[in-house]
């Protein structure tokens, strides 16, 4: 009998960093092809559409980058908490809180010049996300309340809070009853790149990735975060201010998600409205996990997820594939990438049993 035995790889696979994800995607596409064929859709045509719609031309690429922006910011945020071994499941809520907080100056001071208004909105958006994370952070640091539960539950609060503002004080008088805020003034809208929808939020995301990398690799705070995340007992014995760093890192985490919310309302929507996020904050958890605490890998992963989102939309529109089938294809790709990640880190050896030579 032959059976597999798993052992961690001593060295990474040669070229594995590129090859493994690539092969995973190919394997996923093969599986999807079977599925599409069964559903009566020509698979090759679907794939070429999907490719054309995501990486095929500059406009397609720009759409991927648009989707990547909030994923990157939230993913980096979740990743910062993750470094501390804290699970911030609340990026979705922090994103909404950031969107709400950033809307306030846009509506209150529409006539400020962009150079003043946008920094103000950035500040408010980050503060909103930070405040949304502050409660769970304090509860965790002072009373050891599980942050997974508190951050998760605050998501719903934030989403309903957004509804409250849209049905109440910030409802646009000329929206015919739709729950939307009035359109932002021009100075409250983020500048975009050429004719695309890529907005300044991308720069925020890239800057956040760079700052995260510097924070973790080269600062005292980042070092203490890594130590506390890896071994809280040793950190305490070494005199590190564990509770303080916990609060700071969860707040930073929330602030980044809040910035994502700000850049969505100011860069994409131009107003506050419901459904600004199709679950960016939840997808960010996966992105952070696959990013393995490395901001640059997180960036790559966020791009891949952006492409998945756009690819799904393209399939629905151009091939008339039902939305649920596109979700299955997205799920398959995710599944294979996760499995590939595992294969990249472990070695499978086939052991022959009962041999005697």
């Amino acid at each position: 009998m032959i059976r597999p035995v798993l052992s961690p790889r001593e060295k990474p696979l040669p070229g594995g960093a590129v090859l493994v994800p690539l092969l995973s995607v190919v394997a996923a596409l093969v599986c999807s092809a079977v599925l599409l064929a069964v559903a009566g859709v020509p698979p090759l045509k679907a794939f070429s559409e999907m490719f054309r719609g995501t990486l095929g031309d500059l406009y397609a690429l720009s759409e991927v980058v648009v989707k990547m922006t909030p994923l990157l910011l939230c993913g980096l945020g979740v990743s910062l908490a993750f470094t501390m071994n804290l699970w911030n499941i609340g990026a979705e809520g922090q994103l909404h809180a950031g969107a709400i907080a950033a809307t306030w100056p846009a509506l209150a001071f529409p006539h400020l010049p962009a150079l003043a208004l946008i920094p103000l909105m950035v500040l408010c958006g980050m503060l909103g996300g930070l405040l949304w994370a502050l409660g769970p952070a304090l509860l965790k640091a002072k009373l050891q309340v599980n942050e997974i539960i508190t951050t998760l539950m605050l998501n719903y609060v934030a989403i309903f809070l957004l509804d409250f503002f849209l049905f109440g004080p910030w409802k646009d008088p000329v929206s015919f009853g739709f729950p939307m805020s009035p359109l932002f003034s021009d100075s409250a809208v983020l500048p975009t790149l050429g004719a695309t929808r890529v907005h300044l939020g991308l720069a925020f995301g890239l800057a956040a990735a760079l700052l995260s990398a510097l924070l973790l690799g080269r600062t005292k705070l980042g070092f203490s975060m890594r130590v506390i995340g890896a071994n809280r007992v040793a950190a305490r014995i070494s005199g590190m201010p564990v509770a303080k760093v916990m609060i700071i890192s969860l707040c930073l985490s929330g602030a980044l998600a809040g910035l994502a919310g700000m850049s969505e309302v100011a860069g994409i929507q131009g107003r506050l409205r419901p459904g600004i996020s199709p679950g960016y904050g939840y997808t960010a958890i996966l992105i952070a996990w696959l990013g393995r605490l490395n901001p640059w890998v997180t960036l790559l992963v966020a791009f891949l997820f952006g492409a998945l989102l756009v690819g799904g939309e393209v399939l629905q529109m151009s091939m008339k594939i039902p939305a649920h089938l596109t979700f299955v294809i997205q799920g398959l790709i995710l599944f294979f990438v996760l499995a590939g990640d595992f294969v990249g880190r472990y070695r499978v050896r086939w052991l022959k049993e009962g041999r005697d030579d």
Binding site: V5, E10, R218, T219, R226, N231, S238, G239
Partner: protein, 514 residues
Amino acid sequence: MLSSKQALEMEGIVKRFPGVLAVDRVDFRVREGEIHALLGENGAGKSTLMQVLSGRLVPEEGRVRLDGKPIKLGSPKAAIDQGVGMVYQRFKLVPSLTVAENLLLGRETGRLRLNLSDLSAKITDLGQKFNLPVDPAAHIWRLSMGERQRVEILRLLLFQARILILDEPTTILTPIETVDLFAALKQLKDDGHSIIFISHKLDEVLELSDRISILNRGRMKATIDRAEADKRSLARLMIASDWEPDAVRLGPAQCDPNLTPALELEGITARDEQGLTKLDRLDLTIRCGEVLGVAGVAGNGQRELAEICCGVRRSLSGGIRVNGQDLTGKGSARFIQAGVGFVPEDRHGAGCVVGLNLTENLMLKDYRAKRFQKGLWLNWKAARQQARELIKDYDIRPPDPEAKAGSLSGGNLQKLLLARELSRDPKLIVAAYPLRGLDLASAGFVQSVLSKHRDRGGAVLFIGEDLDSLLEVADRVAVLFRGRIMGLFPNQGLDPHKLGLLMAGEKATSEESP
């Protein structure tokens, strides 16, 4: 009951770990009905070899035969089915379940209904037969380490194991529990079981075993009969080392023995996590320039005492002064600032961060220090430079500042902790069981480093379990029993027997009031 029949034959076993050849073409044979000691320093490959046997590790090369029949490698289940079982250093028991429930785990009963009473009766029977008494209805978390070990052995017996592997079983036992264990093992041997006894303690090995195999850096050095072995020859086979204690770098003398004491504890009370009082209005003073040894049976407040002295645990009453400075109620950061170094009992779990490299671990307590800053950033160059120097001074292997702390052997990890603590010029070093689990060479190294610290005017609180090593280094010895100091004696002509009685709680007149 010695027969010449081979119960186990391992041939040409090779096992590699990243960057290390842990076991190098090792042959190992065990006869039926013998106690076979597997002796070697830390990192010699004893545990690795035995984990290959018990199926936890898959060897790169080699064969294993039981009673002449080859067994399938890399399968714990196959090993158990063939009658090979191992008691690991860290027990695999579920604390919240009872003994019987734990022993039920992993047994395929083939029925839906669990029959605990049959199993309980079996446990009691086996316990009586082999001198391994344990209450089947007791919850694991209530049991002492010795009792838990009995449960592990009973588990193997319930699986009809013929070959029992015990990985350093006495490390966690009190002296009395050790005697009980040895009696049980001899009884098992008489019943025809083969026992493989992993150890690095020469006395134990000579007392218990019929034959002794010595591993040295992954190679099998020799297998000899007990009758032909003596301490000296075993030590020579086992030790391969060239450490140089004189190369150790220590800070300048810190304080005058005639001046302020290094540490003063007054009326300290502490409770453990279960709320049991572990320290009871304890007073203790450590002078500069002395090693104060704390003797006692484990669990009498040693851990709490060590943590109180380092500010990791807060006292519920009384006061603490370090070098004259009142630190009552302060946290570990203030204690570190005041010059307290700590070598904790749990080196992996509390002493270092296994996932970080040596450079990072060596600057764990100093990452805020000026010499490691460059403007906003950490100065990794300076940190690596310090790491390289310390690694060289303390002969830490592998000598790679980028190696993960988790890849170090026990002795090297202890050197790493000492290097970090002593390089900070501490006034007081609190060392909890600093020799536990170390091979002779590393233990000697630790002892000499601590004595050296003392000679330069530093103070050491040395919490130990085995009296011999304590008496070798300590200037004064305090006996701890149920959270109180039973007596405090200068280390001159001490009678170990009397100390033993005090450790067991017998009252005696102390020669010096604590």
